[in-house]
Symmetry: D2
């Protein structure tokens, strides 16, 4: 994710606030307890603190919680690049789980690889944090469609 | 998912019950309110009833809820084929969202395409149900690793 | 690939012949020696005979040859469902290699899972044939975009 | 691909030469005319010059040629991290085509994201070059399995 063609363009504070509010209003965000850490041009960061309900029977973060972060950050990152009057819908994504999801907090960073008129391609990386340490535990590649409102 | 090489082999009732109990003991299953409908040789079915907390801000099932079902059913389906003494871990999956997730209930059916000594490949399909009607809203392809316990 | 919503609709013989000719005119099809076995509504079948140049250094069909078949069949299958005056472009695909690609011939069958106004989702399966026997060696899931000509 | 955990470890010149020779001995590499530009720890670069046979009927690089580069570079990059006495086999990959493949030359760079005992996850990026200019046209994420020889 070295390249961020999106970051050259601006994102109005109003649009960033709109996307942040849309994320925070999701029942699922509240149910899981996820926080919106950043919404900027071509980029979105969400995080999730460890809680028993987010864990698998063996004490690891559930893959579903990791997928939830990836789904939401990639869609929101694409949404920062979408023309006014269009909505974003996830067409598909693929994720690789790299390491066991052990930690106090998950942080998911999504960055637009290629914005497009119809489709935006977004990469995401999920880190698990324990104290000062951070470990890459998942990577993903998503295709988000722009659709008329 | 016409082929189910797994279904030829048996799955002991004890092992099926063990996998079902492992799924039901997950905090995440309880948090989302998912139900285990079937665990058989090479196959797992989970479902989820619509609730406000599972919805996006526009009233659709959240993609994260769909991913959660896919993650869990594919892993459990692979688990039915795993040799005794081994655990299953999701290596990766890819999902396509086909239609808006509108409905009273989501049903996810995962079937093993190819069991393996190291890796099992599993397909999943998610349907949204409204009354008697059922609509295919997502398809997925997952790779599950067998690891020593 | 049990469902084929596309097959209900017709595909004119002219359009089928146009897609077949477009495939056969590709330099890559000729270079690899691939054959078009079927183009019908929501479906395309291509095959490839074993030749030394298509093999890896260990005598297996090269993964690139398998990917070539998947790329071409999924795009052509989507093309059978596309409105007149639109072109199809592959947005993305994911493939799983299930078994070593040993055989005299590869056959790739692609079927549309969900046609759409903007995006068509297609599944593909690749079999390797030895004499009368056929073995599933790869599965794939592709997203094809409809674009204005 | 900012992170390259692999690059910390060494790759013996003998092993690098072995991997390069294995690539160059593939019939498919010769058939397509691909060149091995780099094999280093956790990294592989291959390139392909434009030729009529590699093109689609509309003059773009064929998606199959792009997939071929991705398949080979990701497998070779994983191979640089594999313990002696083990082989690498591609389990799966997913690629996104970002822009039309127009150019004089394709360059594919694969870098290991996460090496593992059983599975190695690799990212790849494909650029199309025209004169001095280079454009990102595809990204991919691959899972490569280590298997006993």
């Amino acid at each position: 994710m070295t390249r961020s063609p999106a970051s050259a363009k601006g994102l109005s504070p109003e649009r960033a606030a709109f996307i942040k509010a849309a994320l925070e209003s999701q029942g699922c965000m509240q149910l899981l307890g996820a926080e919106v850490d950043e919404v900027s041009a071509g980029r979105c960061v969400l995080s999730l603190r460890a809680r028993p309900q987010l864990m698998q029977h063996n004490g690891l973060f559930h893959g579903g919680a990791i997928a939830f972060l990836i789904d939401n950050t990639t869609t929101a990152a694409a949404g920062t690049m979408t023309p006014e009057g269009q909505l974003v819908l996830t067409a598909e994504y693929k994720l690789n789980l790299l390491s066991r999801g052990i930690g106090e907090r998950l942080v998911c960073i999504a960055e637009v690889v290629k914005p497009g008129r119809m489709l935006t391609v977004v990469e995401a990386k999920v880190h698990a944090e324990v104290g000062e340490k951070s470990k890459l535990i998942a990577v993903a590649l998503a295709t988000i469609a722009n659709v008329d409102r």
